[in-house]
């Protein structure tokens, strides 16, 4: 067996190099073929079935196809928001304090009842003003809302406390499944264990820990640009496969067609070699990033010079190139996703400490700062999560970079639960934190930067309080002119990552989706949360 495995390994080494192709689904020009069952992988099991309550993609991938949202991201252009249950884009009043949404009048729940504004009101009331005993982790994202009204049968109205730049886009949050008011009235927790929406697929059963099935909703309201009814698929089946290598095996043996979160470069290359004629690959920068978080409550990390030195010591440009070959990080960026709508240009970015391209000069500056702060031979424990992709390789790279300026960091790897417990208790010196969002939106990506004792409680693990920074974040949130907002965000980056060097990104993640090329009509986006209702996905016949 050993000999055979060596022979197999040798064979795979000599196979032709991986191909990186653009999916036919994106190329367009084909007429979608109806029918078939899409089989895809989800690498975790959803805790409950309630999108309002959970925060994991493992809920969205199998369950999102059962639901509709008020707005969603356009499957053909994932940077744009398009109406879903809404009949048109939202209308803002002159003072920008009332947002009115007209609803479609042809929508039915899977139990046959018609959807009205009462359902949308009940849904958003549950999300924004949850009753006692109901958890809504994203209620804070809608703190700007003072009331949700249903003035007419098909009109919904959001009253805002102040004009908000992000509110309208937040209506496309993939978590905000629209629920039935009647079901919520009967039992506010009905959706934790039941599924009943207006989405393209109705619930067709699941086996705990194994799979989740949906079948075509014949009454779905959606149509494609040619007027054909959606969805194209007859059904879908989500396979719960927690081990990523077992996931690769499932695609390689064609038992699964796609996994929507992502694979490593190595796994992509393995699949490319094994399925040279059957594989398509889509790749995209990801709104996920690891942060280096010095605990400002512990010495010497209360000194901005030390924190800045930690950032300066890391050559992100070289790291991005090297690490992107083995793990899922690639691009260098500030607090906003590189190449995203709020990202700074590289010319501006390189002016921030630790983001310049002259690695040697940066390291010299780091040494000087450490000497000035009286800790030329700084040593600390570096708290990290025991996840190999990408936490461990990123941490190993950081530790090596720090070593070159005389810093000794001990890699303190912990399982997720104790790692989280240490983060939340402030029981660490420097940690590798992370963040993923569904949207390029400063209000989301800056949530960790609010003062730790105020809006950043439980989010800001650098544990600083800074009223100036709070004011800057608040100001950008209220600024409705996009150009001015970008400038405000740039100033925040300069202040938070350079001047105060509170916490800073290492490298932004890079999403890689290798999948069977019979899957069409799905386009990769900058996150693994949106574009998952599968309404436009279809299967090409081979």
């Amino acid at each position: 067996m050993l000999v055979l495995s060596l022979v197999l390994a040798a064979c795979s080494q000599t196979a032709k190099p991986p191909t990186s192709s653009v999916s036919p689904s994106v190329a367009g020009g084909e007429k979608p073929a109806p029918g078939g069952t899409l089989t895809f992988i989800v690498n975790a099991e959803p805790p409950s079935y309630d999108g309002h309550r959970e925060t994991t993609f493992a809920l969205l991938h199998p369950i999102a196809p059962h639901y509709s949202l008020l707005y969603k991201f356009d499957p053909n252009d994932l940077t744009k928001v398009t109406p879903d249950l809404a009949a048109e884009m939202p209308q803002a009043s002159a003072d920008k304090l009332t947002i009115t949404v007209k609803l479609r009048q042809d929508v039915k729940f899977h139990d046959g009842t018609a959807l009205t504004s009462e359902d949308v009101k009940a849904t958003y009331d549950k999300i924004i003003f949850p009753p006692t005993g109901v958890l809504s982790p994203r209620a804070g994202a809608y703190a700007v809302v003072s009331a949700v009204n249903a003035p007419e049968k098909y009109t919904i109205e959001f009253k805002l406390k102040y004009p908000s730049a992000s509110f309208q886009t937040n209506l496309a949050s993939p978590w905000n499944f629209i629920y039935s008011a009647a079901k919520l009235k009967g039992d506010i927790k009905f959706y934790e264990k039941n599924v009943m929406g207006t989405g393209p697929f109705s619930y067709d059963g699941n086996t705990k820990g194994q799979d989740w099935k949906g079948k075509k909703n014949a009454d779905y309201f959606g149509k494609d640009k040619d007027g054909a009814k959606l969805p194209y698929l007859d059904a879908y089946k989500a396979l719960i496969i927690t081990d990523s290598n077992a996931g690769v095996t499932a695609i390689r043996s064609k038992q699964a067609m796609i996994e929507f979160r992502g694979f490593t470069p190595q796994q992509r290359d393995d699949l490319s070699r094994a399925l040279p004629n059957d594989l398509a690959i889509q790749e995209n920068p990801w709104i996920c990033v690891n942060y280096v978080v010095p605990n400002t409550q512990k010495k010497p990390f209360d000194d901005p010079r030390v924190r800045r030195a930690l950032s300066l010591a890391v050559d992100r440009w070289v790291g991005g190139e090297a690490l992107s070959k083995t793990t899922i990080v690639k691009d260098v960026g500030g607090l906003m996703r590189p190449k995203g709508p709020f990202a700074q240009s590289d010319t501006e970015l390189v002016k921030i400490a630790g983001f310049g391209k002259d690695g040697k000069a940066n390291k010299d500056a780091a040494k000087a700062l450490l000497a000035a702060a009286g800790v030329p031979n700084l040593s600390f424990k570096f708290l990290n999560r025991n996840i190999s992709t990408p936490y461990e390789p990123v941490a190993v790279y950081l530790i090596n970079e720090w070593k070159q300026v005389g810093i000794t960091a001990t890699h303190d790897v912990k399982e997720t639960s104790p790692y989280q417990a240490d983060l939340r208790a402030g029981n660490f010196e420097v940690a590798l934190d992370f963040n993923c969002d569904f949207l390029d939106e400063p209000d989301l990506q800056l949530a960790k930067f609010w003062s730790a004792s105020k809006a950043g409680k439980g989010l800001n693990f650098a544990y600083y309080d800074d009223t100036k920074l709070d004011g800057m974040i608040d100001a950008q949130s209220r600024e409705t002119d996009p150009a001015k907002r970008i400038q405000l965000v740039g100033a925040i980056e300069k202040y938070a990552m350079d001047e105060m060097a509170y916490q800073y990104p290492v490298l932004w993640w890079y999403r890689i989706i290798p999948y069977l090329n019979t899957v069409r009509g799905w386009k990769i986006g900058s996150n693994h949360y949106t574009n998952q209702d599968l309404a436009t996905v279809w299967l090409a016949k081979k």
Binding site: S5, E45, Q210, L239, I241, E415, P418, K457, L459
Partner: protein
């Protein structure tokens, strides 16, 4: 005998209570909890974390949590998974048939392989046959079953583009699909398992073959096959039965990595996920359940001894 059986059954209670206390304490001693994990990486404010802890009863004093749990157990209520909110019985019910079937298949494979080969090795002691069987069995001990599993999947994938089904099909729904899913893991696990039993069979048969009554049987002119099977093997089986039974009990919940490799939705994977999630109720219930399986299997083995060896009498 009846009194002995009754006494043994009663003794199971303090054993299981001890296991329950230990599991409760160990789980609470492990840092981190389910709520921090549930919202890991999400921008969830602290008050949500606190509310969730309250809803799950994790903010109660430990002794209250323990007495609540023991109260439920005494009513045969194993509680609800903190992670999914489903009853523990539902969670276990889905996975148990797979775990039992895999354990049975692996045991069958192991026994069918181990006992004949063990006997042959003993009878042909120090010949090339014995050496070959010993090398084969040492191979089984040296290679972890998950590695054997990975190799088997790689080989079938590379040569035939086939891998075992990633979804479990119940035996009575489709026996072929069921077997296709379980045959490779059963072989991977059964090989290691057979190696242990094979070596045990060989050494006990060797020992018995030197006994006086075997010499007597041979002196009476019995055929060698009869001597080995009827006189030697039957008496050599006692330790083998113990090893096989305990391995079987272990297989019900112990095939964690193998279940990962083959994506089998079994009890082992459920237990590891529950530990990783700090799903206290589920872990406590599963450990209790697995302990009960061990205790019960031990009891059954003791009863089987009476059948195998008429000299053994319990009173």
């Amino acid at each position: 005998m009846r009194r002995y059986i009754f006494g043994r059954l009663l003794l199971m209670i303090p054993t299981l209570v001890g296991v329950a206390i230990l599991t409760f304490v160990i789980m609470r001693a492990v840092p981190g909890d389910i709520v921090a994990l549930r919202y890991a990486g999400s921008n969830v404010p602290q008050e949500i974390i606190d509310q969730e802890r309250h809803l799950l009863g994790l903010d109660k004093p430990l002794w209250v949590q323990f007495t609540d749990w023991m109260g439920s157990i005494s009513r045969l209520d194993l509680g609800q998974s903190l992670w999914t909110g489903n009853s523990v019985v539902d969670e276990v019910q889905v996975r148990m048939p797979l775990s039992i079937e895999l354990a049975v298949l692996a045991t069958l494979f192991a026994v069918v392989l181990a006992i004949p080969l063990g006997v042959i090795a003993a009878v042909k002691q120090d010949t090339w046959v014995d050496y070959a069987i010993r090398v084969f069995s040492i191979g089984g001990l040296a290679m972890p079953s998950f590695w054997i599993g990975i190799m088997m999947v790689l080989i079938t994938l590379t040569l035939w583009g086939w891998a075992p089904p990633v979804v479990f099909t119940p035996l009575f729904e489709d026996p072929v699909a069921n077997l296709a899913g379980l045959i490779l893991p059963a072989i991977a696990v059964g090989y290691r398992y057979s190696a242990v039993s094979m070596r045990m069979t060989r050494s006990t048969v060797l020992e018995v073959l030197r006994e006086d009554y075997v010499r007597t049987a041979r002196a009476k002119g019995l055929r060698e096959t009869l001597v080995v099977v009827r006189h030697a093997l039957r008496n050599a089986l006692l330790p083998v039965v113990t090893v096989v039974s305990l391995e079987f009990a272990f297989l019900i919940g112990g095939l964690v990595v193998t279940e990962q490799v083959f994506n089998l939705n079994g009890i082992g994977k459920l237990l590891v996920d529950a530990v990783a999630h700090r799903d206290y109720t589920l872990v406590q219930a599963l450990v209790l359940l697995l302990a009960a399986v061990f205790v019960l299997v031990n009891f059954i083995v003791d009863m089987v001894y009476v059948v195998l060896d008429p000299r053994i009498r319990y009173s």
